[in-house]
């Protein structure tokens, strides 16, 4: 068949398919019109194969190829697992994933909490050590933030609700940024994640040790105990996700390195979704609960302990039964 005949015979069908694609691409297709989509797409693919096989001109082949590409984009999609089943992910999927990746989680926790406790203890024993870890200027700022006299004078107490909102925004930006960095740098054979886990542990530990040592402990601990449960475990989990990426590059097993990296990334990004959730909760608690000086310290310690238990129980036990609770 000559190309002109072929075009004349099928031009109408191609135009119809093009219009259908136009409406699908702006999400405005009528359900009835979509019924014949797969049949039309198959026809188009057949026409493309024929056109190539018969040596028709580049213009015709390119036009059909363009239509086929658009049809392919509409027909085949990667379904997002998260959008469809957010609740399932929160109730069972995320804790299960954390348990399945327990090796990376354990390593990340060991490094992060280990360096945190170690530095805290060392700085508590040798107070001068803090100045070799943190800039003296920042130490002074830290001290003024948790100074018991100042807060009694009312600087913290008089914080308005608009200020809570400001701090919420700041915590979101800062903490999630840190978590993302800790995750992403894991691609560098895991070294980046190891570094950030260790470094963040070091900084937090030094501040905690120093403030406890100079007697601002009650103020500091009652402030951080609540949101710490979510924030610190989220940073550790982000590190674990990064370590998984790095490990896939170091030891890909029977896959090629690229393939191993891709499959590890799919798992890691699920962990990151969970980390995001934890950090949102943490920022909320930090801005609206931890900062309230009107609440008595014992109550804060009580709630804080409860939250640590909650996170531990959630990650350790949620979703162990096959049916959702």
């Amino acid at each position: 068949m000559k190309q002109r005949h072929f075009e004349a015979r099928h031009r109408q069908a191609w135009q119809d398919f093009g219009h259908l694609l136009d409406s699908l691409e702006c999400n405005a297709a009528a359900p009835m019109a979509c019924r014949s989509f797969t049949a039309q797409y198959r026809h188009l693919c057949q026409h493309l194969a024929l056109a190539q096989e018969r040596g028709y001109s580049s213009h015709l082949v390119d036009t059909l190829q363009h239509l086929a590409m658009r049809g392919h984009q509409q027909l085949y999609r990667h379904r997002s697992h998260l959008g469809a089943s957010t609740l399932q992910f929160i109730l069972a999927g995320f804790p299960r994933l954390v348990r399945a990746q327990w090796r990376f989680v354990a390593l990340a926790c060991l490094l992060f909490f280990g360096s945190l406790l170690m530095t805290g203890w060392l700085v508590y024993l040798f107070p001068d050590l803090v100045y070799s870890l943190i800039d003296p200027q920042q130490v002074v700022e830290m001290e003024s933030m948790y100074d018991p006299d100042q807060s009694r004078l009312g600087q913290l107490a008089a914080r308005q609700s608009s200020e809570d909102w400001m701090m919420f925004g700041y915590y979101i930006m800062n903490n999630i940024g840190i978590a993302f960095q800790t995750f992403a740098s894991g691609l560098l054979l895991g070294v980046g994640s190891l570094f950030y886990l260790f470094f963040n542990g070091l900084m937090i530990g030094a501040v905690a040790g120093h403030l406890t040592e100079i007697g601002y402990g009650p103020n500091f601990w009652s402030f951080v105990v609540g949101h710490g449960a979510f924030e610190l475990s989220a940073i550790a989990l982000a590190g674990a996700a990064g370590l998984k990426l790095g490990w896939a590059v170091i030891a890909p097993g029977r896959l090629s390195r690229g393939e191993a990296l891709r499959s590890a990334a799919i798992v890691s990004v699920q962990l990151i979704y969970g980390v995001l959730l934890l950090l949102f909760i943490a920022a909320f608690i930090e801005a609206y609960w931890s900062s309230k000086t009107a609440i008595q310290a014992p109550l804060k310690y009580g709630v804080g302990t409860g939250l640590w238990l909650l996170v531990g129980l959630y990650l350790g036990f949620a979703g162990r039964t096959p049916h959702a609770p």
């Binding site: 040596g55 028709y56 001109s57 997002s80 608009s162 740098s185 990334a265």
Partner: protein, 230 residues
């Protein structure tokens, strides 16, 4: 020994048994697209900061949230909701797709944009550029991990006008590639200068057994004959 011609096109075989052909975008156009996006983000941030600074603490909180969204989510949101195109990519006629030619999803987009942080190391996208330059389909590290590809968007081409000459039979049996080459020559003639067209056609003068002066007309006639009567 025949050397394979340099070809950066990327073929995907679909379940329908056809090959989709994608054209991956190189470092330069991607860098320009990123620069455009950076500029747009800068302008957006500057403008909104000016407005938000009027609203005290709430404004600062909103500004921090805004900075977070623009920094980490700008690309992700555009890629997921705008068919793989951020404004910069749209202007450079690029788009992001999965390795198998399907639209990019939440997870892949998030992975490739979070790992941008590593591509930027140690400064100015060094790692990303190295990875992009050595990879056959120009992937940076984020693309490698996410299994995504930045390609040129194909835009429908206007219908070419063939020169009006009487149809001819080819003097010998032509293979499919030869047929396509002759048709391509006739279709592209509008874009070629007269001299270049003659130069190209004169290569075919000997096999066609015509005078080089008449090779162009001869080829156009054969193309007409291959296409069939209008």
């Amino acid at each position: 020994m025949s050397v394979k011609p340099l070809d950066s096109r990327y073929r995907i075989e679909t379940p329908e048994g056809i090959d989709l052909i994608l054209r991956p975008a190189g470092l330069m156009s991607r860098a320009l697209a990123f620069a455009l996006d950076l500029g747009i983000r800068g302008l957006l941030l500057g403008g909104l900061l000016l407005v938000l600074s009027q609203f005290g603490h709430v404004g600062i909180g909103l500004a921090a949230l805004l900075l977070f969204v623009l920094n980490w989510w700008y690309m992700v949101l555009f890629e997921v909701f705008n068919q793989g195109r951020s404004p910069g990519k749209h202007m450079m006629k690029l788009r992001v797709v999965q390795d198998d030619g399907t639209p990019v999803g939440w997870s892949s987009s998030l992975i490739r944009n979070l790992l941008r942080f590593v591509d930027m190391l140690p400064l100015g996208y060094c790692l990303g550029a190295i990875s992009c330059l050595q990879h056959p389909t120009f992937k940076r590290l984020g693309d490698l991990a996410a299994g995504t590809l930045v390609i040129y968007r194909e835009l429908p081409a206007p219908r070419p006008v063939l020169p009006d000459v009487p149809a001819l039979h080819p003097p010998f049996a032509m293979t499919l590639t030869e047929q396509r080459a002759v048709l391509g020559f006739a279709e592209r003639q509008g874009d070629l200068s007269h001299e270049r067209a003659r130069e190209l056609a004169s290569i075919m003068a000997q096999p066609l057994k015509v005078d080089p002066e008449h090779a162009v007309a001869q080829l156009n006639g054969i193309a007409r004959g291959l296409l069939g009567p209008p």
